[in-house]
Symmetry: C2
Subunit: 249 residues, 2 copies
C-alpha cells in the first residue's frame, strides 16, 4: 500500500468555495486530520477516519498525519482557507524536516483554497486590488516587537494590510495596540474592514474608519483589512463598496 498526504484548503466556510480538487481528495482519503471545527466540515462516510485535534497542537497533528501516510494511509490534513497562509502546510513541512528521512519520499501535495483575506475582500469590494501585505497578529510564534516593526514598515510602504488572528480570548490586548499604532501612522480617516465568519450563516461585515475602530470589533473569527492611503469607499444603498484602485500617482 502506497501512502500519500495532501494538505488541503477547505475555504472560509461555504461548501461552494471548496475547489473540486479538494473535494476529490477528501473523497479519496482514508484519514482526515485537522482542528476539530474544520474536520467537522468533512462529510463522514464508511472507511473514513476523522482525527480531530485541538488548536495549538499543529506540529503534533502534522507528525501524526505524516506517520499515517508513511504507514500507507491516504491522508488529508484540512486547513480552513488556504493551507499555505498561516495554516497547516508550514506545520507539516516543519514536521517533515524534523522527522525520519523516509517521510521525504512520500507523495506530498498542497491543495490551495480560498483564504480568508480574499473571501473578505470579495465581500467588501476590492480593498486588496493594489499592492498589499498579510500579517498574522498572533504573537504565539513570534515576538510582539516584530509585529509592531512590520506594521510600521507596511504603513511606510503604503500597502493595504490584511490581518489574520487579530484577537483571541488568550490575547485580548494586542489588537488595541495595533489600532493605536495605525491611527498614529495613518490618521483616523483610513477605512478598516471587520469581516467576521465570511460565507457562513454568522457572516457580519462592518466598515468603519480607524478613528471609529475599537478592539471589540474583532474576535478570533474576524479578518481585518486596513486600506492603503488610496483605498476608497463607494456609497450606495446598504454597505459601501471598499476598493483600492489599480493605479497610484
Amino acid at each position: 500500500m502506497t501512502g500519500w498526504i495532501a494538505i488541503a484548503g477547505i475555504g472560509p466556510g461555504d461548501a461552494a468555495l471548496v475547489t473540486p480538487e479538494v473535494s476529490a481528495a477528501l473523497e479519496q482519503a482514508s484519514d482526515i486530520y485537522g482542528y476539530g471545527p474544520y474536520v467537522a466540515r468533512v462529510p463522514a462516510r464508511e472507511g473514513l477516519t476523522l482525527h480531530a485535534s485541538d488548536n495549538r497542537v499543529e506540529l503534533e497533528r502534522a507528525a501524526d498525519a505524516l506517520a499515517r501516510a508513511a504507514a500507507g494511509g491516504g491522508v488529508v490534513v484540512v486547513s480552513s482557507g488556504d493551507p499555505g497562509v498561516f495554516a497547516m502546510a508550514s506545520a507539516v513541512f516543519e514536521a517533515l524536516e524534523q522527522g525520519p528521512p523516509a517521510w521525504r519520499d512520500l507523495d506530498i501535495r498542497v491543495l490551495p483554497g480560498i483564504t480568508a483575506m480574499l473571501a473578505a475582500s470579495a465581500r467588501a469590494g476590492a480593498p486588496l486590488g493594489h499592492d498589499f501585505c498579510a500579517i498574522n497578529l498572533s504573537d504565539n510564534l513570534k515576538p510582539w516587537s516584530l509585529i509592531e516593526r512590520r506594521l510600521r514598515l507596511a504603513v511606510e510602504a503604503d500597502f493595504a494590510m490584511a490581518f489574520y488572528n487579530p484577537r483571541s480570548k488568550a490575547r485580548p490586548d494586542g489588537f488595541g495596540r495595533v489600532l493605536d499604532i495605525l491611527r498614529k501612522a495613518c490618521g483616523g480617516d483610513r477605512p478598516i474592514l471587520f469581516a467576521r465568519a465570511v460565507s457562513t450563516p454568522q457572516e457580519h461585515l462592518r466598515v468603519v474608519t480607524l478613528g471609529e475602530a475599537t478592539p471589540e470589533m474583532a474576535d478570533m473569527r474576524t479578518m481585518v483589512i486596513v486600506g492603503s492611503s488610496r483605498t476608497r469607499l463607494i456609497a450606495r444603498d446598504g454597505a459601501p463598496i471598499v476598493y483600492t484602485p489599480r493605479w497610484a500617482p
Copy 2:
C-alpha cells in the same frame, strides 16, 4: 428584467481549481466579459454571448460589462486567479465610481478564486507560510520609484514577497533591476521561485538562489516568489520543498 454582474476568479488554469460558486455563475450568465485567453476558458453554450477583449483595456471592458448588466444582462466578468488581486474587481469599481449613479443600484458580487501566488506557493511547498506581501511589478499604472521603494521596505520588514507581472515584452528591463536590488538587500543565497503557468500543461517550476536568478527566468506567465530570511529548502528526490516556518525568533 433585472440585471446583475459578478466579477469572478477562474483560478490559474486547471478547471479543478474553479470554485462551484464561480461555475454556477458562469452557467447562469447571459454575457461573459474578459481578456481573450480567459474568456476562452468558459465553455460556449446557446444563449451565452462571449465578449473577449484585449489586455490594457480593463476600464472600457468594465464599463461595457456594467452597461450590459444595467440593461438587464446576467454578466460575469472573468479574471484569471482571484478578481481582487491585480485583476478586474478594482477596474469594475473604478468604472462604477465614474459611471452613471444608477449603476450603484446593480446587484454586484465579487466571487473569489485561487490567485496565482497561492497556486504557485502550493506547488512549491509553503513559501508564504509566514507574513508576506504581494507586489505588482508592472509600472503601467504606478511610477517605478514606488516599486523600488516598496521592495526595499518589504525586505526591511523581512516579508516573503510574491511578485505579479514580473516581466513582459513591453517591459523587458525592470525585472533585472528588481533582482539587483534584492541581491544587494538580501544577499545571493535567498531562495527564489519561478512558477510558470501553474496548473496548466505548460507548468514549469524552478527554485534557484537570488545569486543564480536571471531576468530571462520570468515572462508574463510567471509568478515569482522570493523567500524571507527564514525561508528554507527541504532536499528530496526531484524538486526541493520551499517553505517558511510559522515561527520567528
